[in-house]
Amino acid sequence: MKRLFIGIATLALTFSAFAETTAIVGAKVHTVGPQGTLMNATIVIRDDKIIAVGSDVSAPDGAVVLDATGKIITPGLFSPFGRLGLVEVSSSAGPADALQRGELFTAGFDVADAYNPRSTLIAINRIEGVTRALIAPAPGGADDFGAVGHVLSGQAAIVNLGDDGVIDQRRAAMVVTLGERGSGLAGGSRAGAWLTLRNALDEARDYRNHKGDFERGLRREYEHSVADLEALQGVLSGTVPMLVALDRASDIEVLIALCKEYGLRAIINGGTEAWMLADELAAADISVLVAATYNLPGDFDRLNARRGAAVVLAEAGVRFALTDGQSATHNARNITQSAGNAVADGLAWDLALRAITLTPAEIYGVADIAGSIEPGKAADIVIWSADPLELTNYPDQVFINGKAIPMQSRQTLLRDRYLKSDSGQPPAYRD
């Protein structure tokens, strides 16, 4: 059955240039949208979009029909944080375009221009179901030679992992590093990191209010470049959220106050102690990216690390996405493990799936194009043989923007080469 199914999918791929319409029929579909979970449903895809989904929908005349009877379908997975396409090998080798080391730019730095859709990491992660991702500047930190990077490390973007390799949205978030790590970037105190942020916001506001004078040379010089100040305008107006790395409850309290004072939107990345302030975060409409399995006091900012934090946030009504805390880039695919562990801790299965699909899309303002299986959205669809959160399961086929992607990566090619160990030829002469 699996073989037959994959054969059909390949066929669809071959003829996708000719067939405008595809219908995937017979599966249990977790839409993660208003239609909920549908049994024996049909999804109709035209070009790159979903045009219909429902148990009472039938395949249009002339559509290529894919039989997915007995399968489970979810929206494409959304990696809420990482550096896909910005990094090939993390340490001491290969492109590493995520960090702005120089002094020229801080907030103005924009990773979108460094994105490489042909990186091997793209295929490795998309064949496991990841179809969209936030790509972010590296937060930097202190090394033996002092601070590397900036408290404001620049602008993140949303990308899709399809073959057309488009940036879905530039300036999706402004990355800010506070807490213990921020203190290393700002002279050794977290108060310095907060001041660095405030100073940037104040200069951006002054620039906005006196732009004409500034351009005529009638205003003082700013510490930030014009590119930085321009990039901060969206943050000041509340259209671009700050993606703030911090963990300690006291820093979260400062963040809540700052957002109120300046009228900012914020997303907390990490937020190990966010569960202690769940009600306050819900009231302030601040979202959290949670690493569901992080449960150790890795430093004094994270003393109250615990399992089940996502459950507490969910109960308080905080909007949260689940991340893989350890390797959000090379193994962005492991967000299913984070979600599965959150379920083991008591989070409802549907909420866990939402936290790796629709919720991150909402957090970054791209829920109109991705995150759920709804008419009008991009056809990012993953077909699974069984429970997608179980680690023994894997996608049979992934569609991105309506196209069935080749279920192949550098890793599957290496694997296949060494599976042919009885070929009698050295590996380099094998396929």
Binding site: E88, V89, S90, S91, S92, A93, G94, L121, M276, T293, Y294, N295, L296, P297, G298, D299, F300, R302, L303, N304, R306, G325, Q326, S327, H330, N331, N334, Q337, G340, N341, V343, A344, L389, E390, L391, T392, N393, Y394, Q411, T412, L414, R415, D416, Y418, L419, S421, P427
Partner: protein
């Protein structure tokens, strides 16, 4: 000055306390020897579970009887005798999980610079250091690992050095010092490291080694010295010549040449592992286990032939050049070739989920038609791990007479939803999910968290 006096006074009290107990069993023990005493236990019959024995077998609807700290038997409807009966219907039982690669205690939480005790990165060969002398028993990571079913673990020095020092194998029971945690009768290991780390650490200082060929020259030079030391000792034993002055560094290396200390070699690339096997041939020692071994799948036949284990992650890759060729099926291909596959963590979070890491490999292997049943996969984190550490005679399976190191899982342990419900170490209940009366809390955690008496 005041602080100094207090410190003196404290140690005086401690010395008094010690001398009070000078007539107990510990007094005759060799320095640094295990002073592990199992927690108190009663006989226990775990009734009606799905049992993975660690020997490659699965027994459905089976009971497991533990008495006097040992496994007594596994089978259907066993006679409980005096044992307390615990109904574990619907649950699964496995041997205790063993992690062959951990830095708990030497790189503990919180990871402050003051706690960074895992790498004696002051010379490329530091065989004289012992990881146990860095182990901080109050690392909260021991407790979270226990909740993941880990009953034994090897603590290794880091990989900055060509030869980093001795490892130590522990029972995962909190002690006041490392001696109270040491696995009785476990052999020592020697940490060696290939590739990028040593050449980066020392090359970056303008010292040798600065290249992979420099690495190899470094190992060989050390083994030449060790062989000479061993030969001089042997000759002196035979009454020929004087014994050399005791040298901690060479003593450990000679222990490897004598087969008493097992080699645990951090090595990623297949080509480098192949060279390391030849170095072992040149000097007459055995590579017990390659750790990380991201490319073990490329040389699985060589590993099988050398009877060398490969301890690997499920899917870590790409974080450095020598990890670029990682594939998820690595362990499955090692296993398929008949070599000893082990899943390790090298991580205070991963150690809590070695079962889940194994599940990923099972899933990936199934994709290419290699079906690995739970009873086979569990060996990677139990009996194969015990073999790697030289403790397979004592633990790692549920065979009668072995230490009663046992985990009761809520479900199939390869399900992401499964949790360790009860963990027994030497027959004693060391952990029970949700039961604060049973579960340990390390000193560091007391009063630092809201759950342990700290500020809300």
């Amino acid at each position: 000055m005041n602080k100094f006096i207090v410190a003196l006074a404290t140690s005086a009290v401690f010395i008094t306390a010690c001398s009070d107990s000078s007539d107990d069993d510990d007094s005759g023990m060799a320095p640094y020897a295990s002073r592990y005493v199992p927690l108190s236990s009663t006989s226990t019959l775990l009734r009606n579970a799905t049992v993975l024995t660690g020997t490659g077998e699965r027994v459905d609807n089976a009971d497991v009887l533990l008495a006097d700290g040992k496994i007594v038997s596994v089978g259907a409807e066993l006679d409980a005798g005096e044992a307390a009966v615990i109904d574990v219907s619907g649950m699964w039982i496995t041997p205790g999980i063993i992690d062959v690669h951990s830095h708990l205690g030497v790189y503990p939480s919180p990871g402050t610079a003051s706690h960074s005790d895992g790498n004696e990165a002051t010379a490329p060969v530091t065989a004289q250091v012992w990881a146990e002398h860095s182990v901080w028993p109050h690392d909260p990571g021991f407790v979270t690992a226990l909740a993941g079913g880990v009953t034994s673990l090897q603590i290794l020095p880091g990989s900055a050095n060509l030869i980093g020092g001795r490892s130590v194998t522990l029972k995962n029971v909190p002690g006041r010092n490392v001696m109270e945690m040491k696995f009785p009768g476990a052999p020592y290991g020697l940490k060696m490291a290939c590739g990028e780390n040593p050449k980066r650490v020392y090359g970056g200082r303008g010292q040798a080694p600065g290249t992979r060929m420099g690495n190899v020259a470094g190992y060989r030079t050390a083994w030449i010295e060790a062989a000479e030391y061993r030969d001089k000792l042997a000759a002196a034993d035979d009454g020929q010549g004087e014994a050399p002055t005791r040298d901690l560094r060479l003593e450990t290396l000679a222990g490897v040449l004598d087969g008493e200390i097992l080699v645990h070699n951090h090595c990623y690339r297949g080509d480098e592992m192949s060279v390391m096997l030849d170095i072992a041939k040149e000097f007459g020692y055995k590579v017990g286990t390659f750790h990380h071994a991201v490319e073990a799948y490329k040389i699985a036949d060589l590993l099988a032939e050398a009877d060398t284990c490969a301890a690997v992650w499920a899917d870590w890759w790409g974080f450095k050049m020598e990890a670029y060729d990682g594939i998820r099926e690595n362990a499955a291909l090692i296993d398929k070739a008949g070599a000893c596959a082990v899943i390790h963590s090298d991580d205070d979070l991963g150690i809590q989920r070695l079962n889940q890491e194994s599940a990923k490999i099972m899933g990936s292997a199934a994709r290419v038609g290699i079906d690995i049943a739970p009873e086979r996969a569990i060996r990677w984190i139990t009996s194969n791990a015990a073999k790697s550490l030289g403790i397979a005679e004592m633990t790692g399976t549920l065979e009668a007479g072995k230490m009663a190191d046992v985990v009761v899982w809520s479900d199939n342990p390869f399900s992401v939803y499964s949790k360790a419900e009860r963990v027994y170490i030497d027959g004693a209940l060391a952990f029970e999910r949700g039961n604060t009366a049973v579960n340990p809390v390390t000193d560091f955690s007391v009063g630092t968290t809201t759950a342990t008496g700290g500020a809300k």
